[in-house]
């Protein structure tokens, strides 16, 4: 194995170490968890061997030995229970630490945000804002003055001549539209055409009926 | 007379060049004519001396063979036979009698006689080996054996050399004969009948080929010779390759059933060669197979590998022949094939063969392919490997052997 390491030096040297102390702590905890897992597996395998030993003793009528084996099994089972307890504890601890890590980053983020806000607030002083408001007020007053000067003797909305002109043009336009509409026919319709008209009416009634039926059975209509 | 022996860790220290000849047990001995025999144990005869361990004490004693003049077997009334050693100096020294098991006595006598005759001690004298353990003795013995083997090998090689010289002379003679016959042929005349008879004899004894005898007349020397050879070789290769292609496309048709009509009976030679198991597989012929085939076809006018290579290169340089020389991937093997043949086509034939024989997802070994194509295993293997290199075939390397399969790895890509 060593040869592999020596041949391919890992990239650790050139990269900054991104491992914190809490990472190492978590790793240690997880390594402990692994140890417990291994121990548990070992116990489980001894239990099965205990059980088979007990069965063998029963078959060969060695009752006391069988009892002993079963006692051992019982003992191992309690050990496994303990293991599980420890595992649970360690898992709890790990998740706590990991959660704390998350919190830590959260706090850090808050801190950074806070600092940024403070910095921005520092840059924007109250005097400066006041001055800005004043300046914009002044600009508005100036604009009103300019408007007043423009409307003093120029064109206003109330100019009657202009309005009369407008109305005249509108009337002319409306007249042109009316003249262009064709006049209705005056002659009688031939009989065939009359039937066709009647059929058309029937058709309309039929279509309405179908429509109604469709509405009654909506599940048949494809979506 | 019999000396105390220097020992080394309880074993007698050997002399330089001393070799053990035989063991003698049981052994008893006495000096002079009267008195009792003394028992000895661990008796042994070496090239230098006779030695034994005294009964009761661990002292070793010996009789040096250089002081023995003669040995003989004597028999006495009461005690049975014995080996008597006669010391050389002084002349009146009492003889030494040795007894051993009756069955061993003759052997002992002959061994002693042989050792006396060889007189190995004369080489190094009686010089004690210093610090010689068992290992160095073994090494020394090994060295001697190797020298002997070298000697044998050298002799054998000399024999071979002589044999080769004889063969060369024989080939030279055959060549000379056919050449003189050809020149005589050109002259013509009254001896024609005699010459015909001679040539007939040569053909009968397998020393010449009828068709070649007519052609050989014009092969004077040098380039001319090679050009001629190249032409012959080209034609020969094409015939063999043509045969092999018909073979591989219709493997069930037996070559012997095919009509032998034209081409001056050459096809017969080719067919015979193919029945012998060698042929151009899949439109390709290995140069060393070609060498055998061609020389077999030529009969007497054998050509050397160098001649074959030169002529083959000339034949392949000539575009009208339509032949290609190709060096296989491993660089050591040369093969000749027709110009319109390439690796991909060759591999396609092999894939088709494998699919036909072993099924779509089946495999074949080089020897199976060789049997199917009627070619040599090495050629089959080379072709399979070439096909593999081109990505047409894949291999299955198992303990049973090497099998080749169609390259199915790209099936899903198609």
């Amino acid at each position: 194995m060593g040869s592999w390491f020596s041949r391919c030096p890992p990239a650790k040297e050139k990269k900054p170490d991104r491992i914190t102390d809490s990472d190492r702590a978590v790793l240690d905890l997880k390594a402990q968890r692994d140890q417990l897992q291994i121990h548990k597996r070992k116990l489980q395998s001894t239990i099965s061997s205990d059980l088979s030993a007990a069965k063998r003793f029963i078959e060969t009528k060695k009752k006391s030995l069988a009892l002993l084996a079963l006692k051992k099994k019982k003992h191992h089972e309690t050990l496994i229970d303990q293991c599980d307890q420890h595992l649970l504890k360690i898992a709890e601890l790990i998740s706590n630490v990991e959660y704390a890590q998350v919190q830590e980053t959260l706090v850090k983020a808050l801190e950074v945000g806070n600092a940024a806000m403070k910095k921005m607030q520092q840059e924007i002083s109250l005097d400066y804002v006041e001055r800005l408001v004043e300046e914009s007020e002044e600009a508005r007053a100036y604009q009103q003055e300019v408007n007043a000067m423009l409307f003093k003797d120029g064109i206003t909305d109330q100019d009657t001549d202009v309005l009369a002109d407008l109305r005249r043009i509108e009337e002319e336009e409306a007249q042109a539209v009316i003249e262009n509409v064709p006049s209705p026919p005056t002659a009688e319709l031939p009989p065939a055409a009359q039937e066709a008209v009647a059929a058309g009416a029937d058709d309309k009634a039929e279509r309405a009926r179908v429509e109604k039926e469709r509405a009654r059975e909506p599940q048949l209509v494809p979506a | 007379m019999n000396d105390e022996v220097a020992t080394d860790h309880g074993r007698p220290t050997p002399f330089l060049g001393e070799e053990e000849v035989s063991k003698i047990s049981p052994l008893s001995w006495k000096v002079g004519h009267g008195g009792d025999y003394t028992q000895g144990k661990n008796g042994r005869l070496t090239s230098h001396r006779l030695l034994w361990e005294e009964e009761g004490s661990s002292a070793w004693r010996c009789i040096r063979l250089d002081r023995i003049r003669d040995t003989e077997i004597k028999s006495s009334w009461f005690h049975g036979r014995k080996v008597v050693l006669q010391p050389s100096t002084p002349t009146d020294a009492p003889p030494i009698s040795l007894r051993t098991a009756e069955s061993e006595l003759d052997a002992l006598h002959s061994h002693v006689t042989a050792a006396l005759q060889q007189a190995v001690w004369k080489v190094h004298g009686y010089q004690l080996q210093s610090n010689v353990g068992g290992l160095s003795r073994v090494l020394r013995r090994q060295e001697g054996r190797m020298q002997q083997q070298e000697e044998t090998v050298r002799e054998a090689l000399n024999d071979l050399q002589a044999l080769r010289q004889n063969a060369n002379q024989m080939a030279e003679m055959a060549r000379h004969l056919s050449r003189s016959y050809s020149s005589g042929n050109a002259a013509g005349g009254a001896e024609q009948a005699e010459k015909d008879e001679l040539s007939q004899l040569m053909v009968d004894y397998g020393l010449a080929d009828a068709t070649l005898l007519q052609k050989a007349s014009r092969s004077a020397s040098g380039d001319d010779y090679y050009q001629h050879l190249a032409h012959d070789l080209g034609a020969f290769v094409q015939r063999v390759l043509a045969k092999s292609v018909t073979n591989s496309s219709a493997p069930e048709a037996s070559t012997t059933d095919q009509p032998m009509s034209d081409a001056e009976g050459d096809d017969a030679a080719v067919a015979a060669a193919q029945n012998g198991g060698i042929s151009g597989g899949n439109g390709m012929l290995l140069l060393h197979d070609l060498f055998c085939l061609f020389n077999r076809w030529k009969g007497t006018e054998l050509i050397s590998p160098e001649e074959l290579l030169t002529a083959m290169q000339m034949a392949c340089d000539d575009p009208s022949q339509g032949l290609r020389l190709r060096r296989f991937a491993n660089g050591r093997v040369l093969a000749v094939h027709s110009a319109d043949m390439d690796d991909d086509r060759m591999a396609a034939t092999l894939v088709a063969l494998i699919e036909r024989t072993a099924g779509r997802n089946g495999g074949m070994s080089a020897s199976q392919v060789a049997a199917a194509l009627k070619c040599s295993v090495s050629l089959a293997l080379l072709q399979l490997q070439a096909g593999e290199a081109r990505g047409h075939l894949v291999r299955d390397d198992t303990v049973q052997g090497l099998y080749f399969y169609r390259n199915f790895f790209f099936d899903d890509a198609k």
């Binding site: 592999w4 900054p16 491992i19 997880k30 968890r33 692994d34 | 495999g363 990505g391 199915f408 899903d412």
Partner: protein, 185 residues
């Protein structure tokens, strides 16, 4: 062994040449890529994370096919593993290259799956042990549940490289932990 429950994603697995590493380059490349698929498929099905270069490994599926009567050689096994490492589907665990971690998912994919889980289950910006990622009840229905420590670590290192997580040790224990980040640093 488990080969009866597992079926290869490619029919080539039943063909003998698949078990001989091919000498021709292009063919071998293709073959190895098929092997990569087979190995990943097998390991995913069997939840297998490691491959050893051993006879025992070569004798078992997917490197041994009883039906085709073929098995890979150790050399072949090594070649396949090397190919997987080359293509990011594995990594050698030792210097001697005898053990390979299989990435039937590439580390980046594991990393993405883990990060998705972390963000879906609210584990961003919080700490988790590597043990609980592998074995914990929270990840029981996740694909990466049961991933071996080594591979998990590699995946998390990939995540770390992207800046989406950091691996660290606790102050008192020597257990590895990881912290997921909501955004890359």
């Amino acid at each position: 062994m488990e080969s009866n429950q597992w079926s290869s994603p490619t029919e080539f697995w039943d063909l003998p040449p698949f078990f001989t590493i091919q000498p021709t380059d292009a063919t071998r490349e293709k073959q190895l890529s098929l092997w990569l698929q087979v190995v990943c498929h097998y390991c995913r099905a069997q939840r297998q994370y490691f491959i050893d270069i051993s006879e025992r490994m070569a004798d078992s599926a997917p490197f041994h096919n009883a039906k085709a009567k073929r098995k890979l050689t150790l050399d072949g096994l090594r070649k396949i593993c090397s190919y997987m490492v080359q293509h990011g589907h594995g990594v050698w665990m030792d210097e001697g290259q005898n053990r390979m971690a299989v990435f039937w998912r590439k580390p980046q994919e594991w990393a993405a799956a883990i990060y998705r889980w972390a963000s879906d289950s609210g584990h961003l910006n919080s700490v988790e042990t590597l043990f609980s990622l592998r074995e914990g009840d929270d990840t029981r229905d996740q694909d990466f549940h049961g991933l071996p420590h080594e591979i998990l670590l590699i995946a998390l290192q990939a995540l770390e490289g992207q800046g989406k997580a950091q691996i660290f040790r606790g102050s008192s224990s020597d257990h590895d932990g990881v912290k997921f980040f909501s955004q890359a640093a």
